[in-house]
Amino acid sequence: MSRIRRRLLVAALASAAVALVLSATTGATAGSSFSKTETISRTHLVDGADQVVDTRTFHVTVDQTTQLRDRQEINVSWSGAHPTGGLVGDTNSQFAAQQEYPVAIMECRGLDNGSLPASKRLSPETCWTHTAAERAQSSLSFQWPSYRLDRYATPADRRARVGVPSPLPPACLSLGSGVQHWIPFKAADGSVYAGGADGCAGIAPDAVTYEGSLQPSNTTYAQTDLQGKGSTKFVISTADSNASLGCSNTAPCSLVIIPIMGLSCDPDAANLPEDDRPPADVRDLAFSRCAATGQFQPGEFAGAPNIEDLSVSGLLWWSESNWRNRITVPLRFAQSANICDARKDSAPVYVYGSELVTAATLQWAPRFCLDPKLFKLAHVQTGEPQAKNLLQNGTIEAAFEAAPPQTPFQRPTVQAPTALTGFAITFQVDDGSGHPLQTLRLTPRLLAKLLTESYAGLTVVQSTYPALANNPLDLAQDPEFTALNPGAPAPGYNTPPAATLYSLSSDSDVIWALSSYINADPDARAWLDGKPDPWGMVVNPAYKGIELPVVSWPLLDDFAEGWLYTNDGNMCLAQDPTPILPLIAAPVATLAQLALNMQFGVANSQIVCKDSGSITQKLAAVGRENPGQRFILGITSLADAERYRLDAASLLTHTDPGAASKFTSAAGRTFVPPEDASLRAAARMFQPVEQDGTWVLPYDKLRSSADGTGAYPGTMLVSTAVPTQGLPMTDAKRYAEFLRFVAGEGQQPGFGNGQLPPGYLPMTASNGMSTFAHYTQLAADAVAAQQGGTVSVTTLNTTTSPSNGDGTDGSGTPPAGTGSGGTDTTGPGGSGPTGTGGSGPDADVPAIGETLSVGSGPGGLAAPLALGLAVILALAAGGTWFFGRPKVAA
């Protein structure tokens, strides 16, 4: 082979190898799940012989273990475990550890690899538990609790006092003596917290002594049903939300799943020193306690607390009998968006606006800031109307919006479609037997009822507020709701949070879309105008006839009287009377806060008087609702609903003409949940409106047309509004670069950098949105040109408005439009053509411009002209003098 051919062959092989490696690494990112099976058993060691009590084959599946983000929920499901007894409602609470035979799932720092150094290996000391009680045991009366008899524990772990620091901290002296077994916690920064039964020897900053805080721990003691199967959601935490655990890409973490089978006991303790062996008279008692199989029947709810058998409870997850049965799943995290803050870059390019695209920009931003040829992209989250106002008065350069502006933009602006997403009405509703409902159906009229404070919420309010006296107490009691959702809690079940829909207090296009949807429904509109619904419920008179749509939902009710406002009722309200219904509604400022509340089932209604009677009394939120008895609804973005695995309600689109108005079931009505198919159908319904400059969803057509029946009414199109005139050229080119990315590469679904997370429907031709992508490409060109171009939404033609009206004239000054272009580098405004070549979409080629000729025009000749004028005039004067004298005859 000739040398050239050889070299070509080498080059080809090398590039093929590189391509293979690259494709392998990128391919491996998409949601890799994990499965494992193992045999677990409980075998006692009695008189030197094994006594097998129980053997099972445990199989577990985790649905996503890579590209994980903070507070993301993953699903863990298993089969072959021992059924759980002594059930509690909340598997994340500290009481859940006391259940018998749970499956303990926790996040631990480190990997399960014996060959790693100790600092990188996981152990019970690096596993996160929220409360002190989950990692400390003390037995004051009995010297031989079951964990001292664990046959697999090391001799050091079977001593009377394990993990107790010496000298004993003063706070722990009150615990007395007795048997203590504490598991210290090693935090990410190296500090070691000994813990102790009440946390007396110090606990990590993120831990609590007793649970009371709003945000629960992610340690889960999940329940297995009678068939040995179970599944649960697990919340991943990274260093962002749990600095003590400190999980990140540089401090790898694992998910540890421990199916509790109970301790395998060794009462003889033959190879232990005398002190650690139970004496003969106690041996049988100690063994019977250790080998206990549970006080509760499998599937039985815990009645009285603290009667569970310790040896089979989740409290002993750390004991070697249970610990050796663990299954470890290495976790890999997505690159945090904070990585962009750490880079010492030039000023970022800011886009203000919609929280609906936060999840997308979180994944897009690292793609931009990590590329040295690109720039730093910063998304400042504000409400969309606020962002549009800022863009209108020129304070910012680009805005994410989800609806056209109320008054058209003054400067020529393009509104380029960026992402198709929407809002979801998410819910945490448990049915009569305590299990969560998976689907919920809601009509616009029901949404209107929730938003207009038309449910009294509290019986004392219902009895004293005449306007609401005949209305149902809350949504669960509304016949319209129960007809559509037969599994919902039976009447008689009432909490104030069930009377409202948790929503936004700030201006938002989400409220605009929701109120447009409500307004377009004739039943809802008629009800808002005062017509009672078929069951007799009327609108709150404060909201009667309200004009919709609105960008900010007003809280209009002002009822503030009755028993509630007396000292017997609510002392906070008695002292400081505030209308009660807005307190029940309690909207929050951001969609992110709403998502947090919905994820953990936190009811935000501010009606609990804390420290009642004291000088520090104040109204506080109802707080976390007990799992099994929850009923809350809230608005979240679709992306958040996907990320935190929140259930979204199905919304009404179509009513058959013959369907009954006083209905008893969902028959004759179509309800559409948010999913890919329904978003796709909605995307097809968007109509271009020329004077708004963008696409609008016609809500009335959703009801009437056949295509609209399958369309999700909560769909919203988020666009980026960028002016095409007046921006500095470097910024304009960057926005154009961003728009081109958005139109193409940014719509790839996935969890990696630069990809589109779930909750967004990719804007591609296969989803029927090629027009959107094409428009965004054209918009990018118009933004890069900065010539005042606008792209028509109907014809997709770009029209450039003529030059920018700042031409000066007269007195020999050149019109600023032509002469003063300069080059891009000096960046003198955006006026006039700049004509730099080679600065197209490839940002990796440094653009070479051409220095334009900046002429001075006639003004440059001022001095010579003046001098010439002077000479001419002088000559003229002289001439006039000379020749102007009349001849005098001598």
């Binding site: 350069e397 500095p728 003063s820 080059t823 000096t826 006026s831 440059g860 000749l861 003098w881 102007g884």
Partner: protein
């Protein structure tokens, strides 16, 4: 000039106070010059025409004189005053480095030995009026030493012509700029005129571009016709961060080679003042007395003329 001639005549006429000035009459020709044919004094209409033309010519000459000579004096005065201000600000580290800076505030000190620039105070703003004080910093660019491309404009003919020798900068020459953020040394990379290629530097580095006007041939030195640019990049130090709040657009009058059209109104005003002063001057000469009028009137006249010429030069391109 005819003005003086007629003035002399009038003065001769009114030397004797109390006497009505005699009308201009033709003097009888002295007999010694009887034989020479010569012209008499111009008629009234011609005198007025001569007067007007002479005045206009005088104004034109005054304008040239003002722009080439007097403006340098003005600029020297401004620079001295601004130097004192800037020195104090730099000592206290209170010279502005970001945000909105009022036009005319001194922000930096510029030195370039190769171009004969020593201790030039750079002010904020590149309007014609701002560049009368010295070199001006374009408001929508970062300050020298901060990340990005900082643009400083300067005049090359009038008002001290701080950038008249800009073309003498060669590649590799050093430009020193001192701001509140420190002392920066920039190394000249290229000199560009119209049509020259202009690579766009990356936004990570700090760059400086000096802009002025230049021309060649008979126009060289007093009638420049195009802008030239000198690009320099920061050496030996890291760029400073750019504080936020900088304006993103500037007025049309702050672009290179743009005139300030808003000075037209002011120009008309000063023209009116000039007319008023001249009329008053002429009237006072008759009523008051020539010496008094001259003593009081000349400074006033010069002041008004100066202001009118300044305003007129504001209308011209700002880099001249």
């Amino acid at each position: 000039m005819s003005i003086r001639t007629s003035e002399r005549e009038e003065r001769t006429q009114s030397v004797a106070p109390g006497h009505d000035p005699a009308p201009i009459v033709e003097e009888p020709v002295p007999s010694s010059k009887k034989r020479r044919r010569h012209r008499g004094h111009p008629s009234r209409g011609a005198s007025i025409a001569i007067a007007v033309l002479a005045v206009l010519a005088g104004l034109a000459v005054w304008f040239v004189f003002h722009s080439l000579v007097l403006t340098s004096l003005q600029e020297h005065g401004s620079q001295a005053r601004l130097y004192a201000l800037l020195r104090e600000d730099l000592a206290n580290a209170t010279a502005p480095v970001g945000g909105t800076i009022v036009s005319g505030t001194p922000i930096a000190l510029l030195d370039a030995d190769a171009a004969g620039m020593h201790d030039l105070v750079v002010v904020e703003g590149t309007d014609s009026k701002d560049l009368m004080l010295g070199p001006g910093h374009q408001r929508d660019t970062p300050l020298p030493g901060q990340q990005g491309i900082s643009v400083i404009d300067g005049r090359s003919v009038t008002y001290g012509a701080p950038f008249r020798s800009l073309e003498q900068l060669a590649v590799g020459d050093e430009i020193h700029v001192t701001t509140s953020q420190g002392e920066f040394t920039f190394r000249v990379e290229r000199l560009r005129g119209p049509g020259d290629p202009a690579p766009i530097p990356s936004e990570d580095s700090a760059n400086l571009t000096l802009v002025t006007s230049a021309s060649s041939g008979w126009r060289g030195g007093w009638a420049p016709d195009h802008a030239i640019f000198v690009d320099a990049s920061l050496t030996g130090a890291d760029p400073q961060p750019t504080p936020p709040g900088r304006p993103t657009t500037i007025e049309a009058s702050e672009q290179p080679m743009a005139g300030d059209a808003s000075a037209r109104i002011l120009g008309i005003f000063w023209f009116q003042q000039l007319v008023i002063v001249v009329v008053a001057f002429v009237w006072a000469r008759r009523r008051w007395g020539p010496w008094q009028t001259w003593i009081v009137g000349v400074p006033l006249l010069i002041a008004v003329l100066w202001a009118a010429a300044s305003t007129f030069s504001r209308l011209l391109p700002n880099l001249i």
